[in-house]
Amino acid sequence: MGITFRKETFRDDFTFKNSPEHIRRFPFPFHEDAYMYAVNIEPHVVGPKGSVLENLIDVDEHYVAEMQDRALVLAEDPLRCQSLPHMTLAGWDLLELLMEQQALGYPEHFTLSRDGDRWRWINRPLGIDDTFTFGDTSTLPYGPMEYITRQSQGDFCILDQRDGNLWMDAGMVTTQADWSLDFDIGMNFFEWHAPVPLAHEKGIFVRALKFLTNIQQGKPARRLNWTMTINPRLDTSPENYHKWGPDRTTVTPENVGDKVHLRVELQSFWRLPRSNGIVFPIRCYLIKMDELVTQPKWARRLHRVIRDLPDELANYKGLTRYRPTLVEWLSKLDDGSPTSPGFGPD
């Protein structure tokens, strides 16, 4: 019963791998043979068994290794976790949400029991058994947001809602695709999206903000985003660009399958009940090309998407340097036959 947690690394020797079951459940983000921005938001409801949507907060075989990697990042750079003073209540909201969802989805690994404000949280994979008073920060070893996000896969941004805008006022961000919480903290929705090309012209952010500020309690929403990463690094932050940026020059026709990873973010949006804020979990899934192309439909489709991607987008996603090598490698797996509609493998 339960998940077998892998022992693996996201740095140095890069032993990260997906098991065959995890390859099949990978959230492949392309439903057709081309990609362009769209407001691809849908209700965050439970999906099919065996998919990453089986539970609204997904825990997988990489859980323990990801939490160890997060602890390493935080030890080097504590500013990856920040919470402005007015966001503590939202931190408690998030603690409740993540404990409830993880205990609900994985009772063999997590248990939450409550007696009024007196809560007991058991996290078996990480060997934690803590009793604390909900709402009293002095009863936890960290602030509520940091405490629970050291035990939850994915990055978390907590957005304060005021003046008809959303403000990046708290977060735990260690598995990011080249953006920095320390840089964005305190910014509003338009400020932190300013670097994204093309989407402003399409009015996407105005519509997205209108949607997000109307997210209601009990009705979370989600979308997928994607990029590519060389080597299975969770922490591709601007702060550590000197460590991962040069990786992009190391891609050769011989090592594409092992080095190049599709990086998919499952982003969800939840209204927090006490603070009236929004939490935005950004869950990162990695898969190397060798694993991805075990599903022939995904291989054909990814070839067509990367080949036809507009240059601005390829540049923004940092693919420009190795795109020709990748497209050439993928082209050998694309016989030109049609792909079936939808995301899943055939």
Binding site: D160, R162, Q217, K219, N276
Partner: protein, 321 residues
């Protein structure tokens, strides 16, 4: 109804007359579970099944957000309104099964505030009941100024005084007591946020004076209690769904659209959230705009209407619904 928020099946657990105009209603979940947590300032939409007619009215939650065993709302009887409050007063009894929405907060506290200065008029006190409970539990700094017609109509004034003592100031119209607004607004510490809920005239007055005295608009928060007003019946053609409907005297345009089986999105049903904004295809007549969402320019253009609170008088109206 497919749109709006998630619904909660509740049972009326208590009905308590508070004074000659106001009655309090308590709701619990039918399945015995706790209700969802909420934040001070949130409202729920109560569905009232009154014979053939369904009304959906928003009411602020006034209990403590720390206690989710039950929700409480207070309803002021409006003898010349569309009948929602009369239905609540006359027909809702303990044991009645009702449906309410999940809580929605369009009048949220700004948690950055160093101090929360609250101004309430009449039944506008209800969102402050929850907000003061929330702030008091966290040791928050607040002060509430509450205007009512007479002491006996000062709904919950006694409760508030007992709970918060000198943090509550009362003003009675019949004793000619008035908030010294300019002095109050000029003597607040830096970082104070202002909240006002009450009649339209009071909200307008407070917002105007705050602006004149240099308060940044981001620090001034207000909630209009704009109930839909009754009016002359009128006919509407819904172009997208191909239906022609009649809006009765006591019905809102939104309710009439819903009764015809068309479900526009909504949240507040009080003309502030913008969800049910509807494009006008053509019209011959006069709009009666009662919302706080559309700009004056939108109102003049004849291109848009908020069907939750606004009406129409004239020969024909075609909407993009």
């Amino acid at each position: 109804m497919s749109t709006g928020t998630t619904k909660l099946d509740v049972i009326v657990s208590d009905v308590v007359p508070v004074n000659e105009l106001v009655t309090r209603f308590h709701f619990r979940r039918r399945d015995g579970q706790l209700l969802p947590t909420f934040s001070g300032g949130a409202h729920v939409v109560v569905e009232m099944r009154d014979g053939e007619r369904t009304r959906l009215n928003p009411y602020s939650l006034m209990g403590s957000p720390l206690d989710t065993r039950e929700y409480t709302i207070s309803v002021r009887r409006d003898d010349v309104g569309r009948g929602g409050s009369l239905f609540m007063h006359r027909s809702v009894r303990p044991g009645l099964e009702m449906v309410i929405s999940y809580p929605v907060n369009l009048f949220s506290l700004d948690l950055r505030a160093r101090k929360h200065l609250m101004l309430a008029g009449g039944i506008g006190i209800t969102p402050f009941m929850a907000q003061t409970a929330q702030l008091a539990a966290e040791g928050g700094n607040f002060e509430l100024h509450y205007t009512c017609r007479t002491a006996s109509l000062g709904t919950y004034a006694d409760v508030l005084r007992e709970r918060y003592d000198r943090r509550i100031r009362l003003y009675h119209d019949d004793r000619d007591e008035r908030i010294e607004l300019d002095r109050l607004l000029s003597t607040q510490p830096l970082g104070t946020h202002l909240y006002v809920c009450g009649p339209s005239g009071m909200i307008g007055w407070v917002r105007d004076r705050a602006a004149a005295l240099g308060w940044p608009s981001e620090t001034v928060h207000f909630e209009h209690f704009a109930a839909p007003q009754p009016g002359l019946p009128f006919d509407v053609t819904l172009a997208v769904s191909g239906k022609t409907i009649r809006v009765d005297e006591q019905q809102s345009l939104l309710e009439a659209i819903e009764a015809a089986g068309v479900d526009p999105p909504y949240l507040c049903r009080g003309g502030v959230c913008g969800q049910c904004e509807t494009n006008v295809v053509s019209y011959d007549g006069k709009f009666i705009h009662n919302d706080h969402w559309l700009s004056e320019e939108d109102h003049r253009s004849g291109c848009k209407i908020m069907p939750c609170v606004s009406r129409f008088e004239g020969r024909s109206l075609v909407l993009e619904r």
